[in-house]
């Protein structure tokens, strides 16, 4: 038990997911282990069940078979130890940016002054200093995702579950958000499980990339690209992307994703 507390793992063990009314399972016997401090990215073609797996980890979907545990405890419902950030930020438009970030604290009955202070700290962390009083509809897509990230971090989760959080952003904003994500991950040392369609994004961010193939969803490859460690060690993302090793890794990952697909 002591060991788990020191190093909690988010473990999906031989998970199969079967939606009602569908003949075939979406995912079959997929195992994923995310340790605190890991940045695990799920990639794969449409229909490989990556978002379904994330939802199992979140406790939003119950697996047909297999077990999902966090720190050894079974996952049966959503919980603030695994905060989720969605593609469509899912912010609350009736609250200001600060109130959105403070939402988890409000649920726990933290005093208003204390939660405002904490929310402002988190907004500063995602580089949104001074935007606390802004309404959600006044923010750009990138700013909204930053608020979403800060809101998830406010719950003080052990794991962050990111469901294509940058999918709806333009290329430049995306790149800036990748830096923010890495900074947050380095600073907080949470475990991250992320779903993305972006191949470069996966390579830049992940400590481990899990490639899934559809029909039914299963793991076909594991990569440990290591570029995010290089960023944490001080290299810039631009320098990393310019490295020939990055191009090689991109080619290899692309091949793995499209392997077995009929041309």
């Amino acid at each position: 038990m002591q060991e788990w507390q020191a190093m909690p793992h988010l473990v999906l063990d031989k998970i199969s997911i079967h939606y009602d009314g569908q003949a075939a399972p979406v995912v079959e016997r997929v195992s994923i282990d995310v340790a605190k401090g890991d940045f695990v990215v799920l990639v794969g073609r449409s229909g490989c069940g990556k978002t379904s797996l994330l939802n199992v980890a979140a406790g939003l979907v119950a697996p047909a078979r297999g077990s999902a545990t966090i720190g050894g405890e079974p996952i049966t419902a959503p919980g603030s130890d695994r905060a989720v950030v969605f593609q469509n930020d899912a912010l609350f438009p009736w609250l200001t940016a600060r109130e959105n970030v403070a939402f988890a604290l409000r649920l726990r009955g933290v005093k208003p002054s204390e939660r405002a202070r904490r929310a402002d700290e988190l907004l500063a962390l995602v580089k949104l200093d001074g935007a606390g009083d802004k309404h959600i509809w006044e923010l750009s897509g990138g700013m909204r995702q930053r608020v979403g990230l800060a809101r998830a971090l406010a719950a003080e989760p052990q794991f962050l579950l990111l469901d294509e959080p940058l999918g709806a952003l333009d290329a430049l904003t995306r790149e800036r958000m990748q830096t923010t994500l890495l900074d947050l991950w380095t600073a907080s040392r949470v475990g991250v499980l992320m779903v993305t369609h972006g191949i470069e994004e996966a390579l830049v961010l992940a400590t481990r990339i899990i490639v899934l193939a559809p029909g039914p969803g299963r793991v076909v490859r594991n990569f440990e690209p290591g570029f995010s460690r290089r960023y944490a060690a001080g290299e810039t993302i631009r320098a990393i992307k310019a490295d020939p090793a990055f191009a090689a890794a991109r080619g290899e990952l692309t091949d793995a994703i499209f392997e077995g697909e009929a041309a």
Binding site: G59, V84, N88, F92, W94, F103, I136, A155
Partner: protein
Amino acid sequence: MSVTSYTERPSARIDEAEGLTVPWSRPRPRRSGVSARVVSAATILAVLAIWALSARLQLVSPVFLPSPAAVWAKFILVARDGFVDATLLQHVVASLYRVFAALIAAIIIGVPVGLAIGISTVGRGIFDPLLEFLRPIPPLAYLPLIIIWFGIGEPSKILVIAIAMLAPVALSTAAGVRDVSQERINAARSLGATRIQVVRHVILPSALPSILTGLRIALGAGWSTLVAAELVAATRGLGFMIQSAAQFLVTDVVVMGILVIAIIAFGLEFIIRRIERVLIPWAGRD
């Protein structure tokens, strides 16, 4: 395929339309909304003018159509001296009291019922058929029954209006609840919200625009039920005033009463829109 059916094809019509040079079919830079308001004001003035003119020319007997001036004079007179033992203000207050008492009752019952319909299958199973049964019945049809059950006092009148308001409030609430984005609910749950906290902090605020729309519809329904409710054994109220005036053929009071009802309804609509702007500034922007 006959030739006529060929020319009936939409594409053929579009070609035709493009060939036309109708000035209003061209896209034009949009100007401010002022012009529509000017047209509306002109329309109202025109109606007033036609009314004044036909009264002046005695096209219709003054018993049937009093002049605008006569109605205005009556407005002043009734506001000052009253009609059937109450001043205009007292009639208005009596009517507004009934409508708002009914509105509060409809909110207290309708919003939780709507929540139950939107959230739980059992709730929907219980309340949906009841509301669908109640909704299409005209208030005048159940008025007699309510008088038999509850007498001719104030509660019966408020009850009739409240029943008319209940369905719009509950059904709009239910629609709002059903439209709540699942992602927002999931986000709240993953931030640690309990079921009750999800209802309180996510579902209710999300449904608020829809609930307010329901209140607006309900106020309209209640205001139109008012006159019917006041036909029976009332001693005050705009509906009662109009009814009494009609019995004595005091047409100018009837017309004045109708205009006052219209103006108040317009005012209520205006107030609700202001409330919407304050309470739900985000509506339609996310």
